[in-house]
């Protein structure tokens, strides 16, 4: 598989944020502000059933009574919720791929995920979300043959309301936290995926999110349900155009693995991190959680290089006996980026097992924190956890922090926690240089080696993208 040095060299020549462009697509947008009326309008716009409107209104009430969480190791100006527009949709609707606006196609080309290419070459079905409304979904028919449902959240509400109603909020209730409540009230669109009993999804399901409207907050909602004995690998990739003002993103992702099912959820996140002075950039406050039933497995893999502020803890509730939760993470911060990320592994069932591998890389003046909870309930006999938490420092002005929490209520549990902090070695860089490898490439090589355990968990096409992202994110970062 071709991750070539030339590709990397080309990327390295591109010093500015690669995807910092804006496409001129006519879009329909609500005036700024948030009220019960806005919530109703969003629901009406999407022609939603009453139960969903009720769900939103209830969440809105909950949100109004909540305050923003303050415990994360990040500082940022509080988003002005009344200055955000809560709905933006491209005006034109598309009947077929041929009808899609050429400019939108061009945007996708720049992202390297043109539908044509995707269709022909990769076998990856892409549900492309641009400003909240899905404009194209490919491979639907092929998936349809297996009765796999993979569509935008709005479509799922229209065509599969019983599934949505059953599972929406079942893992992340509206009361969970401030941003989950906000999302539950105003979520615009997102993705829905259902794998029927015993079906092994034959391709990686992939969704590309993109924030495209200036001043538009994005509130994506993702729901993945793997029915008994099924398997799915789901890819989520994010890019955003360059912006001066901060953009708020508060997504909710819920995964449900029924008995004997397995879900792999991979993310490469590359939202605009702000410029070198720390101006601009995306606020990324995400709630991701999976529910594991008996003998099931949920595996989160993430490579986080973007966003000005990240607040994200993909977690697993290991409810069923013998269930397995995994979390593999690489979080890179550079310049003035701040990340507070980690996972929660909640062991409820017997013989449950979890693995946490976290690799933090801090450069510039950034702050990078790992925050993780491993909780063993009194019923969770023979629960096991292994946590490895490594930090790599690239400069003298950055920070790496680790906040591990362990709550163990069962004596049969076995918990291991390993942590290291190291500074990228000048000796390592010189050693590479002495063999003919340039400094930039040496850093890329060393960092990729450091992250190998996590990158190995990504599907191949994502691993390639992730390696490039790491190199781009860490340009000129050794100090």
């Amino acid at each position: 598989m071709g991750y070539t040095e030339e590709e990397l060299a080309n990327d390295l020549n591109n010093k500015e944020y690669e995807f910092g462009f804006t496409s001129n697509i006519e879009s329909e947008k609500f005036p700024v502000g948030l009220s019960e009326e806005v919530v109703r309008k969003i629901s009406a716009k999407k022609n939603e059933p009453d139960w969903l409107l009720e769900y939103r209104l209830n969440a809105f009430k909950i949100w109004q009574q909540m305050t923003e969480p303050k415990w994360a190791h990040v500082t940022y100006p509080k988003p002005k919720f009344q200055e955000i527009s809560y709905y933006a949709a491209p005006k034109k609707k598309y009947e077929s791929w041929d009808d899609v606006d050429p400019e939108m196609k061009a945007t996708m080309d720049k992202l390297g995920i043109s539908m044509e290419e995707q269709k022909k070459l990769t076998g990856v079905a892409v549900d492309f979300v641009m400003d909240s409304v899905s404009v194209a979904t490919s491979f639907k028919e092929k998936l349809g043959e297996l009765n796999i449902i993979f569509c935008s959240f709005s479509e799922a509400v229209q065509h599969h309301p019983e599934l949505v109603k059953k599972y929406l909020g079942s893992v992340v209730p509206s009361t969970d936290n401030f941003y989950a409540a906000l999302n539950s009230a105003v979520f615009s669109d997102g993705s829905f995926c259902y794998i029927p009993k015993g079906v092994r999804c034959p391709m990686e399901l992939s969704t590309y999110f993109r924030i495209n409207e200036s001043g538009t907050g994005q509130f994506e909602r993702t729901l993945v349900v793997a029915d008994e004995g099924s398997y799915v690998s789901y890819l989520e990739g994010c890019t955003a155009p360059q912006r001066d003002e901060n953009q708020l993103h508060a997504a909710v992702v819920e995964l449900i693995a029924l008995d004997n099912a397995e879900i792999k959820y991979s993310t490469v996140q590359n939202w605009f991190p702000g410029d070198k002075e720390g101006k601009g950039g995306v606020f990324n406050f995400v709630t991701k959680r999976g529910m594991c039933n008996t003998n099931s497995k949920i595996s989160w893999t993430q490579v986080e290089t973007g966003s000005a502020v990240t607040w994200k803890y993909p977690s697993c509730i290991l409810k069923g006996d013998n269930s397995v939760g995994e979390f593999y993470s690489v979080a890179v911060t550079n310049n003035y980026q701040q990340a507070d990320t980690g996972t929660k592994m909640i062991h409820l069932g017997k013989n449950t097992k979890s693995t946490v591998i976290s690799k933090g890389i801090s450069a510039g003046k950034s702050q990078n924190s790992y925050r993780g909870l491993v909780q063993i309930s009194n019923r969770a006999e023979n629960a096991r956890n292994f946590t490895q938490c490594d930090s790599l420092l690239m400069s003298d002005e950055c920070g790496a922090h680790t906040f591990p929490y362990i709550e163990c209520n069962n004596k049969s549990a076995r918990l291991e926690h390993e942590a290291t902090t190291s500074k990228i070695g000048e000796d390592q860089i010189f050693y590479c240089q002495q063999r003919g490898i340039s400094e930039e490439k040496a850093i890329s090589l060393i960092v990729n080696g450091y992250c190998k355990e996590v990158l190995n968990k990504l599907p191949m096409e994502f691993a390639v993208e992730a390696q490039k992202l790491l190199a781009i994110s860490l340009e000129n970062s050794v100090g």
């Binding site: 070539t4 040095e5 070695g425 000048e426 000796d427 390592q428 010189f430 050693y431 590479c432 240089q433 002495q434 063999r435 003919g436 490898i437 340039s438 400094e439 490439k441 040496a442 090589l445 060393i446 990729n448 080696g449 450091y450 992250c451 190998k452 355990e453």
Partner: protein, 261 residues
């Protein structure tokens, strides 16, 4: 000595009046050295004479400042080149303390290096098949076990394995000039023989080797054309291989005393 040199042999390295300092401390104080293709030079000397500083300065390690003098490498101004450019031009340093790079396989490391060097020389990247054939061929030179090639660079290698890996890398990169910085330190007699035999097989009329060593024993296996004694930042004595034996016998004090007279 000069008469022994054949006219057609090209000069690979020409160091004139080299002065260098580390953290403000003058270490090299007017060093001269000329190395031609096909030659093996040994640089010996007591601790603190500047042997490893010479290797570091030539290979472009940060923290070493050249305060005077010149070095031409195959006709190019060596000190005008970045460390990686010097390597790309064909300068190789076998490290006294090889560095570990966790998570990066020896193979990936070397393929990256080879392709970087090839790109510098406007050549196509090496194909996976050719590369693996090369790995197989060259690893035999130093009796490197197959699994060492696929393991992370130097990670968990024994002292002997690390040194053998250095020579393996040298074999893969085929430098014009190789500097072996105390490659014999920490080696038992068997490993020493393997390493030396690898180096001898790599020696040819087109390249040159500079062996930096403390002891004579490596020179039993890698026979030098010239032996230089480095003391107090300068080469104070040059001779043939018998000089190494003399040093072994009389110790470095003999040189120091001779200097002072």
């Amino acid at each position: 000595m000069q008469e022994l040199r054949k006219e057609k042999m090209s000069t690979l390295l020409e160091i004139k009046n080299l002065h260098a300092e580390v953290e403000g401390k003058q270490i090299l104080k007017g060093l001269n050295l000329t190395v031609r293709a096909g030659e093996v030079h040994a640089i010996m000397g007591p601790n603190g004479a500047g042997k490893s500083t010479l290797a570091a300065v030539l290979s472009g390690k940060e923290g070493y400042t050249v305060t005077a003098g010149t070095a031409l490498f195959d006709g190019a101004d060596l000190f005008a080149l970045e460390a990686d450019e010097r390597a790309k031009e064909g300068l190789f340093l076998a490290f006294q303390y090889p560095v570990e790079i966790p998570g990066v396989s020896n193979i990936n490391f070397l393929r990256t290096a080879i392709n970087e060097i090839r790109a510098y020389r406007k050549q196509e990247p090496v194909s996976a098949k050719d590369f693996m054939a090369l790995v197989k061929e060259k690893s035999k030179l130093v009796e490197l076990k197959d699994n060492l090639a696929s393991r992370s660079v130097n990670e968990g290698f024994s002292g002997g394995e690390k040194k053998r890996n250095e020579i393996f890398q040298m074999a893969m990169l085929e430098p014009k000039l190789a500097i072996l910085d105390e490659t014999d330190s920490g080696l038992d007699i068997d490993a020493l023989r393997i390493v030396a035999s690898g180096v001898n097989k790599l020696k040819n009329a087109g390249n040159a080797i500079v062996v930096i060593t403390h002891y004579q024993r490596l020179l039993d296996y890698i026979i030098p054309d010239f032996v230089h004694v480095l003391a107090d930042g300068r080469i104070v004595k040059t001779g043939d291989k018998s000089l190494a034996l003399e040093l072994e016998e009389k110790g470095y004090d003999w040189i120091n005393t001779a200097q002072k007279v």
